[in-house]
Subunit: 112 residues, 2 copies
DNA sequence: CAGAATCCCACGAGATACTG
DNA sequence: CAGTATCTCGTGGGATTCTG
């Protein structure tokens, strides 16, 4: 349900392909559905919905729908979801510190 | 290339499905191919080979083959691979601390 | 705007069998 | 023992279209 710091090569993941990114997008506060689509370049509404639903089911985010037109829904990290920020940061720190080394190792080992 | 602490539900991953488990298996020292197959219940030789190759390519493990019959190959964590133990431990700590809560959240939210 | 409904495909990964 | 070689299947996830 959530990956961490996967720019090029998903080395560390949290849940599925998008979850970690969503968590980071929600780190600063509640976001609307469309607001999430912007930083998550390329995600389709279907997948975003699926991922958010799974996170909601796991108690990581809360969904708040405001009645009216146009519809407006906000997603926010739950306290439980916030506890993930720390291990996530640890993973990102590792990636920042060692990813270059991994990429270099890949170049050395003759291309697959 | 490596997941972390995914007993039932892979919530935190490192690389692919098996990588994190392999890292933990190698934590205490070098292991042979067959030795790895035991704790990784259910892994097929094909998948184990693929995963180890990817980890080797990324510079996380070293592969040492001893000539002779029967063949004998040992895998060992590289210094780079060892640096992963820390963030991995952070993820496992999170899982131990909060996984129950996640599972409870899943039960509450009516079954999918 | 926030999604639901479909369709579709690549690929991760298991099962099985074979080899140096 | 330490793999390689095939075959196969499920499903994660993308594209597209439609709706309250």
């Amino acid at each position: 349900m959530f990956r961490a710091c996967s720019q090029v090569t998903p080395l560390i993941q949290v849940g599925d392909k998008w979850t970690a990114k969503i968590i980071r997008c929600l780190e600063a506060g509640p976001r609307r559905f469309s607001e999430l689509r912007v930083p998550l370049r390329g995600i389709t509404p279907k997948v975003l919905t699926e991922t958010l639903r799974a996170m909601e089911r796991d108690g990581l985010v809360t969904r708040t729908a405001y009645a009216g037109i146009p519809p407006r829904v906000e997603y926010e990290l739950s306290p439980l979801g916030r506890t993930l920020l720390k291990p996530l940061a640890a993973s990102c720190a590792w990636a920042e510190a060692h990813m270059a080394e991994v990429l270099r190792a890949r170049e050395v080992h003759e291309p697959l």
